[in-house]
Symmetry: C2
DNA sequence: ACATTTTCATATTGATCACTATGAAATCTG
DNA sequence: CAGATTTCATAGTGATCAATATGAAAATGT
């Protein structure tokens, strides 16, 4: 441990000359645009306004910096888990994810597409663990959505013959595709149209008698 | 031009010591697995059984080799254009593309996923032209599918309120997602289930009176 | 055999990669 | 101020990147 944790018994010493959060944010934006392997350390240090030794002291190495950037990306402003849990119905949760993705992937102040979707798709054998970790994160979101759908079927909110795995997988597949289309230059309206079309694959919600 | 074209007036000289098609195939498989930038020339020359000077003489440079590998990938055994044109209906064309993708992305003798979908998604600024070229190829397939759908509407095969852009975009988005899911380890059956689910977004085909 | 042409194998190019060794600068404690 | 501690800036580490310079090897034509 080269750096002391900020809250723990801070020994004296030269103070940090950069804002860790701002630096991490700059790294996130670079990774978002170019992905893990295609983003070089020289680009990172330039954008983060941090020298290489400081970067390594503060974040470990490139791999840890990337994963921390992804965690930051996934934790704000709204998380997928929030969208799934807060929706009134499973179908509404799917729509939240799709529409939220369409909007987030076409922000005016952020790179097009999705860091989680396209940050480490094609990479060398040396980056395989990063690839696997991102796949795990995607799988976690998909599992949450699938569980929400399965619960909706149990509650009589969706038909008994609805398929939670295929429904959740389809939503995640479309989100992946939206990221690529956004990167290719598709507009927000185009993506929202596709998201709306994807929802047409869902079975109708069953009307539950109040009470 | 360091290499003479094989058919043109072949001057005498030392013959090629490698099968150009086999070498290109080996390069395609490597690019398929790791993408454009993450595949190094040393990996390529090793897999292709070709020395660097021979590779450059035969294929130009890494960028041209990659694009030639992608063209080879797209030209066999069945092309997207064939699938679209040979289908009985626009809806059948969409199903052919989706099911064909699910099967092609989970071949036992090929890398998982799709070279066109994931070969150059995230890359450095230096590879932007490759990224754009692949986006153009994806767009060409999407345009063909859209035109087929628009024609189907004109023929009364699909309802007048069907949306060719959103339908075609949705199919392409799902295909992109299938590629990522395949890379993440999803089975062929899982992908086919998602493909089937995606087709549920389509409007019913109108029954045409025999004529 | 000899000249010509083409490709091959070896070794290497400058550039860039992720990463770090070294020592000065900046803070706190006493 | 002096000593301890931590971070900073400079400069460079060996490794690997895509791409080539050089000259020998292998074919044909005369």
């Amino acid at each position: 441990m080269k750096y002391s944790s900020p809250s723990a018994g801070r020994r004296p010493g030269r103070p940090l000359s950069f804002d860790r959060e701002a630096a991490l944010n700059a790294a996130m934006l670079l990774f978002w645009r170019h992905g893990y392997e295609a983003t070089s350390l020289s680009e990172l240090t330039a954008a983060m306004r941090v020298t290489p030794p400081s970067l390594y002291a503060a974040f470990g190495d490139k791999k840890q910096l990337f994963l921390e950037a992804v965690r930051r990306y996934l934790s704000g402003p709204v998380t997928a888990q929030q969208l799934i849990d807060d929706a009134d119905t499973a179908k509404a949760a799917a729509w939240s994810l799709l529409a939220g993705s369409a909007i987030a992937f076409t922000g005016e102040t952020t790179p097009p597409g999705c860091l989680l979707a396209t940050g480490a798709i094609s990479c060398s054998a040396a980056a395989r663990d990063v690839q696997v970790e991102l796949a795990r994160m995607r799988g976690a979101i998909q599992d949450r959505l699938r569980d929400r759908i399965a619960g909706a079927i149990d509650m009589g909110e969706l038909p008994c013959d609805a398929e939670p795995d295929a429904l959740a997988g389809h939503v995640m597949a479309v989100i992946q595709g939206l990221s690529t289309l956004a990167r290719d230059g598709a507009s927000r309206d185009t993506l929202l149209g596709i998201a709306r079309m994807a929802m047409a694959a869902w079975p109708p919600e069953l009307i539950r008698n109040g009470g």
